[in-house]
């Protein structure tokens, strides 16, 4: 960080800032030098913050009308949809907002994978990110249980039953989680409590995520360390603010389309049937964003090993900064990694697809191959590639590849005068 000493102009500002340096923080956030070559894949951080705030705000309103009771939850959701003023809007924003949140987080994660943003010195940012992602999955899963439809109930039954795979204490843990001998009212009330709690934990971690980011500063598409501030950077405001704003608006158009025109397409029809412990749905499927992990879970014939494989698939990401041995960050200069990257993207999409299909025949075979490849990518391909791959020469600065090696002095000067 290159914070020059900041002093507020007004006397009150000085007085306040000496006691609580909020103005210094605001000044840091405004001036924060950002690489000027960030592309649109970098706008998803801002978009994700928007998603989190949207979920919290709509969630608060829903919680005012929702009743967390096995006999009344389904009715109260219909009450929200019918009789609460704009309740339908708030609920559809919240329900589709979860999907939008995951869409954005997957783009955010895969951007990081492509440009090597998880590598030194950004390991802590990355690990906090993985924890946020885990909490998001927990929050989304518990949120899906709250309407108390058929998929809510049976999804909760399947997922909580995974803990029974733990040797010796598994059954006890499941009973403890349920608060009884099956998914029932105690399960619903605790899920509601946790669903309310987790977003605020995520919010706290987001602050840490951004704090950790502001220590080394943003990675960039070229993936090199840059001098800050310099001709390679622009101040966060107004440059990045307006660009993030533009991308956010584009995102909101897609979001609005789902909310207003196909609000139920990402959900499952069975969740409009009230939970019935005596009737099992033909296929129990999680929401789309959990499908790849569901496919991994089902591809292993043994229950315990399946759970281990599923958890490892997520936790392995936390070890990524050390599994990827390449010193070069950006895939732009890693011709072989770039190809494996796209194979991984395809692999995850395939896992998602077979996760939605019944686990039998060809689907099961494909799921097994794709699962094996997923782990192969992280455990074998990445470490080996770091040693073997012949990378392309990397430029010395961001300006070099853009201006063809000779920095435009006039532009650089003009920009520097803007910075100061």
């Amino acid at each position: 960080m290159s914070d020059h000493e900041y002093t507020p102009k007004s006397n009150f500002g000085k007085w306040f800032n000496d006691r609580l340096p909020l103005l210094t923080l605001a000044n840091h956030l405004t001036d924060y030098p950002t690489p000027k070559n960030l592309n649109y894949w970098w706008t998803f951080g801002g978009i994700l913050t928007f998603c989190l705030i949207t979920q919290i705000v709509t969630g608060l309103v829903l919680a005012m009308h929702y009743i967390a009771h096995a006999d009344m939850a389904f009715d109260s959701v219909e009450h929200i949809m019918r009789d609460v003023n704009y309740g339908w809007l708030i609920r559809y924003i919240h329900a589709n907002g979860a999907s939008m949140f995951f869409l954005a987080v997957y783009i955010h994660i895969f951007r990081s994978l492509f440009y090597g943003s998880y590598k030194s010195p950004r390991e802590i940012i990355w690990i906090i990110g993985i924890i946020i992602y885990l909490l998001m999955m927990a929050a989304a899963f518990m949120g899906y249980v709250l309407p108390w439809g058929q998929m809510s109930f049976w999804g909760a039954t399947v997922i909580t039953n995974l803990f029974s795979a733990i040797p010796l204490v598994g059954e006890g843990i499941v009973t403890w989680l349920w608060g009884g001998y099956s998914v029932d009212n105690p399960t619903l009330t605790r899920f509601f409590t946790l669903h309310y709690l987790i977003p605020f934990l995520i919010l706290g971690l987001v602050v840490l995520h951004i704090w950790a980011l502001h220590v080394p500063g943003n990675n960039n598409p070229v993936g090199i360390d840059i001098k800050k501030p310099s001709k390679d950077t622009v101040p966060f405001h107004p440059y990045i603010v307006i660009k993030d704003g533009f991308a956010l608006l584009m995102f909101m158009i897609v979001f609005a389309f789902f909310v207003f025109y196909t609000p139920n397409i990402l959900g499952h029809a069975d969740n409009y049937i009230e939970a019935d412990p005596l009737v099992t749905p033909a296929h129990i499927v999680p929401e789309w964003y959990l499908l790849p992990f569901y496919a991994i879970l089902r591809s292993v014939p043994d229950k315990l090993l399946g759970v281990v494989a599923m958890l490892s698939a997520i936790l392995i990401l936390a070890a990524l900064p050390w599994l990827d041995t390449s010193k070069i960050r950006s895939a732009v200069f890693r011709p072989i990694y770039r190809q494996f990257y796209w194979v991984l993207v395809a692999d995850v999409l395939i896992l998602g697809y077979v996760g939605a299909m019944p686990a039998e025949g060809l689907y099961l075979l494909v799921a097994r191959v794709a699962t094996a490849y997923y782990f192969l990518h992280f455990l074998v391909i990445l470490p080996v590639l770091g040693w073997r791959e012949k990378t392309l020469p990397i430029p010395l600065s961001i300006t070099e590849p853009i201006l063809g090696g000779s920095p435009n002095l006039a532009t650089a000067k003009k920009k520097e005068s803007l910075d100061n």
Partner: protein, 259 residues
């Protein structure tokens, strides 16, 4: 801008995947033109009113609609019966109320604020009267079935003689659109079953369409408001996005880098 097209491609791909994932076991349903589909989709008022007639005269003897109230019939975006009509409809039902000052339950004519009267006291009673099968509540039925309106519309017209290799138990009927083809509801509609007051010819097809439209409204009573607001919201967003785009171009022209 190249990157943006990539983002959109990814979004379309992802929604495409979840879409195919959910419609994997689809049979070809009968198609009809629904007035409520599309960006400006609205309900056909007359069809909703006819659909309500079919529901009360045919479906409601077995199927409840517990989330609807008689007042909904007069609300905007629905069948839009006049307030007097809706009051008269409500009053034509006997509602159980109480206890009164003497601790007795009593019946009285329905009011606008009452929920639709249920055909059975409880689920068990409904099952007992229907050979063990519970006629599902119809309030959100359209949203609770994978095929939505097309499925319901087809199912109502999907009764056929069973193929030779299918044997049916007593009280079970063959329907080519039903999951597993076996259904415990017998064919309910026949030409001229109800007499529409607006003179529309009550064919099976017409009644199926009307009652399905009514069910769609019952499941999504704010559909019209949603479509209307959606159009405004998206137009607003597009205008704002355009303005922000040009502001961004202007601001970034100072650093002469492509964005």
């Amino acid at each position: 801008m190249k990157n943006l097209s990539k983002i959109f491609f990814l979004i379309i791909l992802l929604s495409g995947i979840s879409f195919t994932a959910q419609t994997a076991e689809k049979v070809e349903y009968l198609k009809t033109d629904w007035s409520f589909k599309g960006l400006f989709g609205k309900f056909d008022r007359a069809s909703l009113q006819r659909g309500y007639q079919v529901y009360t005269e045919v479906c409601s003897s077995c199927h409840s609609m517990k989330y609807l109230s008689y007042r909904n019939l007069a609300e905007k975006g629905g069948p839009e019966f006049s307030l007097e009509q809706a009051k008269a409809i409500a009053a034509s039902f006997e509602v159980k109320d109480g206890p009164n000052a003497d601790g007795e339950m009593f019946t009285r004519p329905g009011k606008l604020s009452d929920k639709f009267v249920m055909p059975y006291e409880n689920v068990k009673a409904a099952q007992a009267a229907n050979g063990g099968a519970y006629p599902p509540d119809m309030s959100v039925l359209v949203k609770a079935r994978g095929g939505g309106v097309d499925y319901i519309y087809s199912l109502l017209q999907g009764y056929e003689d069973p193929p030779a290799d299918v044997s049916l138990d007593d009280g079970v009927y063959y329907n080519k659109y039903m999951y597993g083809n076996k259904i415990k509801m017998s064919n309910q509609l026949s030409d001229g079953l109800v007499e529409y007051s607006d003179g529309t010819n009550a064919t099976v097809e017409q009644m199926s369409k009307d009652v399905t439209t009514f069910l769609m409204w019952a499941a999504e009573p704010h559909l019209e408001a949603r479509h209307k607001m959606g159009f405004k919201a998206i137009v607003y967003l597009i205008i704002l996005t355009t303005l922000v785009y040009f502001s961004m171009k202007k601001i970034w022209s100072r650093v002469e880098t492509k964005i």
